[in-house]
């Protein structure tokens, strides 16, 4: 790291090429060492299922050359820069005032816009894969934001509550309602939505109660363990959950009692429209939009309540919090349960939208993805979650659409196989570049005379 230190020394701002080349040469050598077995050799099964080795030294050379010049480029970019605490990122007042309403207006108009642009069939992909998918993650991100962002409890098993919500709806709608009150079939989604949330919240309390004495890393690992336990039970308890096969033909939501089908009492017939699957998609879009906005509104309100202030105080310094007489267990538990409840709502919606669920949808990677959205966005920031969700989820969906990559890298190139690779890399790079996320400003929830915001890097944080 001679190059970086030299370059950042105040008395010698000039770029030291020799040192940079030496440093880059070393980095390329390390790259060579890293890639010797894993990149240079590839093991493949032949016809008789034995492993054979293939060689690809050209890729190794390419990787080393890339690292060499990349390292020099980084040293060049960093010349003369000393580490300084990041300034608070504050939106310009005009943008802060007009940004959220404008974004909201755009989102409300989005399905109609797509419909006008792409026609009924072409727009399903845009509304469903992009719109609904991103909104689900925004909602999950805002829900987890209460736990991680406000209360500072690192939860690696959030997907468990998503699963509880999804399975609650799926089981009640396919087993309980047909067996007890079959007349209510069309209302299943609307009845189960609150039940799923409450059940998930209860699970949040049950799981949270024993573990919330733990701190930081330990809490993270135990929540991870609980997430995995719930998934493993769903896989192995076949009579209850259908195991790997999951639950299929879950009733879809109705328009307050009017089903979306081609029959005479269907949505299209009742409103005198021509039948098309697009109506359901648009309806689902608005349902998840309202659910997500509800999550945001409640978490904004909660932040100003005493319990919300206690959460934030707890995030910044647990010991100080305790010495001020705040009951940390109850405070943590409310955050955990409320976060879990929103996860349950989102899970219920997910099951209703998919019509099919299986344990495959609730793996640890899903938790990591939601956590990444919260962390990359800047813990505690609602706008940050939106930006991060659009970047991560939308970016991954866009990857599927990029056909020109096939022309660059050949017809076998499949961009989606790199999506988790890019995702992991993005998580690491984001931590290196901005450990506190895109929007890390601390805004006070009570104001005396003047509204001020400080940078997140000036607070202690992280003992939760």
């Amino acid at each position: 790291m001679a190059a970086r230190q030299d370059a950042s020394a105040a008395d010698r701002p000039a770029f030291d090429l020799a040192a940079a080349v030496k440093d880059a040469g070393f980095a390329a050598l390390v790259m060579l060492g890293l890639s010797v077995p894993i990149l240079a050799l590839r093991s493949d099964q032949n016809m008789s299922n034995q492993l054979v080795l293939a060689q690809r030294w050209d890729s190794v050379v390419l990787a080393c050359v890339l690292v060499f010049f990349g390292r020099i480029a980084v040293a060049w970019l960093r010349r003369g820069k000393a580490a300084a605490p990041s300034k608070p990122f504050v939106l310009p007042p005009v943008l802060a005032r007009t940004g959220p309403p404008a974004a909201l207006a755009f989102v409300v108009a989005y399905p109609l816009l797509m419909l006008a642009l792409n026609g009924p069939l072409g727009s399903i992909k845009w509304i469903d894969n992009f719109g609904i998918q991103i909104l689900i993650y925004i909602m999950l991100g805002w829900g987890l934001n209460i736990v991680v962002g406000l209360a500072g409890l690192l939860d690696l098993g959030y997907v468990a509550f998503y699963a509880v919500g999804a399975y609650s709806y799926a089981l009640i709608a396919t087993q309980v309602i047909p067996a007890t009150y079959p007349d209510l079939g069309l209302w299943a989604f609307w009845i189960c939505l609150p039940i799923s949330g409450i059940l998930a919240g209860l699970w949040g309390i049950i799981l949270g109660f024993p573990v919330l004495r733990l701190r930081g890393d330990y809490l993270a690992i135990v929540t991870l363990a609980f997430g995995e336990i719930i998934r493993l039970v769903l896989i192995n308890w076949v009579e209850f959950s259908g195991g790997y096969a999951g639950i299929s033909s879950i009733p879809r939501p109705s328009f307050f009692g009017i089903p979306f089908n081609a029959s005479d009492i269907g949505f299209a017939a009742v409103f005198g429209l021509e039948f098309s699957p697009i109506y359901r998609t648009i309806f689902l879009f608005y349902v998840i939009l309202i659910l997500a906005l509800l999550t945001a509104a409640i978490s904004v309100r909660l932040r100003r309540l005493p319990v919300g202030r206690a959460w934030e105080a707890l995030r910044e310094d647990e010991i100080a919090c305790r010495s001020l007489g705040i009951n940390t267990t109850n405070t943590k538990l409310t955050a955990f349960a409320i976060g879990a409840m929103f996860g349950g709502f989102a899970g219920c919606f997910f099951a209703a939208r998919q019509g099919f669920i299986s344990p495959e949808s609730f793996v640890f990677l899903e938790s990591a993805q939601i956590l990444a959205i919260v962390v990359l966005g800047g813990m505690g920031s609602l706008a940050g979650v939106v930006i991060a969700a659009i970047l991560l989820v939308g970016g991954i969906e866009i990857l599927r659409e990029l056909d020109f990559l096939k022309q660059v890298f050949g017809p076998d190139f499949d961009a989606t196989q790199y999506r988790m690779l890019i995702f992991g890399l993005a998580m690491v790079l984001m931590m290196l570049w901005k450990p506190r996320g895109l929007i890390s400003t601390r805004e006070p929830s009570i104001v005396h005379r003047e509204r001020k915001a400080i940078s997140g890097s000036l607070v202690k944080e992280g003992h939760g």
Partner: protein
């Protein structure tokens, strides 16, 4: 009785592998107080490195299994150590002194990155290796059931014991180990006394990875197969072992590993094989809730 003894042998074998991985967790936690979430995937990378070198040794150079395995063991330790060194350098060191969750999140990203990198580079299918040391040494017979210890189980226990002995010697008797223990107690004071803290931390990662590589070699030898996703579950179980033994304590990690291996095999034999992972995860939760310092750990006291 006969089933019990057989499961005892199987459990100790499995436990040796967990113990080797657990040391990596416990050392890193001891010295910089972070859970190295990517350690399980480092173990998996070690397995793949071993697999590829093993192929080179047997298919290209035509070596016999035993010498090939010994060379693979050394090469695997070196190259996996280099991997972990690079990971620490790139993903963890810049975050030292950042807020507490940053290195953990970076490690989670690294874990996802590593497993998917291996998937892209080596393909998503299981990689089988030809079976080796298939003979079984019969110990005794009871009720028509022969209790035996497989040669590969013997190899695993011997290799584990030897590597642990070397490792123990390095930590307890060499200047390097002394520097490491000093950094574990007080980094600031250690650096005042002329110890290069950064280099010591790097070496800790290298040593942890070297032991994980030994575990990786033993893993492909024992199961005869390795897959890019094989890092996660053994990683969490080894972490459980480290927690059970008391995180930060080296003998604790080994004993915790053996215990987890035993619990897992006994649970599979007497209760339900489907729920063996649930059992391991539950032990993690139960230990952390009721015995946060583990069996041999020191209580963590925070001074304000």
């Amino acid at each position: 009785m006969e089933v019990f003894v057989q499961q005892l042998i199987n459990g100790l074998t499995l436990g040796s592998i967990y113990g080797l991985i657990a040391i990596g967790y416990t050392m890193v936690f001891g010295i910089i107080g972070m859970v190295n979430f990517a350690h399980g995937d480092v173990f998996m990378v070690g397995g793949f490195i071993a697999l590829l070198f093993f192929m080179v040794m047997t298919a290209w150079l035509g070596l016999a299994v035993l010498p090939a395995l010994m060379i693979v063991l050394v090469l695997g330790m070196v190259f996996t150590g280099l991997w972990n060194w690079a990971i620490e350098r790139v993903a963890y060191r810049p975050l030292r002194g950042s807020f507490r969750l940053a290195p953990l999140i970076s490690a989670i990203g690294m874990s996802i990155l590593l497993s998917n990198l291996v998937q892209v580079l080596q393909g998503p299918r299981n990689k089988p290796v030809p079976p080796m040391f298939t003979q079984v040494l019969p110990l005794f017979e009871q009720n028509g059931y022969t209790v035996g210890i497989g040669y590969k189980q013997i190899v695993i226990m011997v290799v584990t014991a030897v590597s642990l002995a070397i490792f123990w010697y390095v930590v307890q008797k060499t200047p390097l180990g002394r520097a490491q223990r000093a950094c574990e107690q007080d980094q600031k004071m250690a650096s005042l006394l002329g110890i290069n803290v950064d280099a010591t931390i790097s070496l800790t990662f290298v040593m942890g990875a070297a032991l994980a590589a030994v575990a990786g070699v033993m893993y492909i030898m024992y199961y005869g197969v390795v897959n890019f996703s094989d890092g996660f579950i053994p990683g969490v179980k080894a972490f459980t072992a480290a927690v059970l033994g008391g995180i930060g304590s080296l003998p604790g990690a080994v004993i915790g590993g053996l215990l987890i291996g035993l619990i897992e095999t006994m649970w599979s034999a007497y209760f339900s094989i489907d729920y063996k992972d649930v059992a391991a995860f539950s032990i993690l939760a139960i230990t952390l809730v009721f015995l946060p310092t583990g069996l041999f750990g020191r209580p963590e006291v925070e001074k304000v």
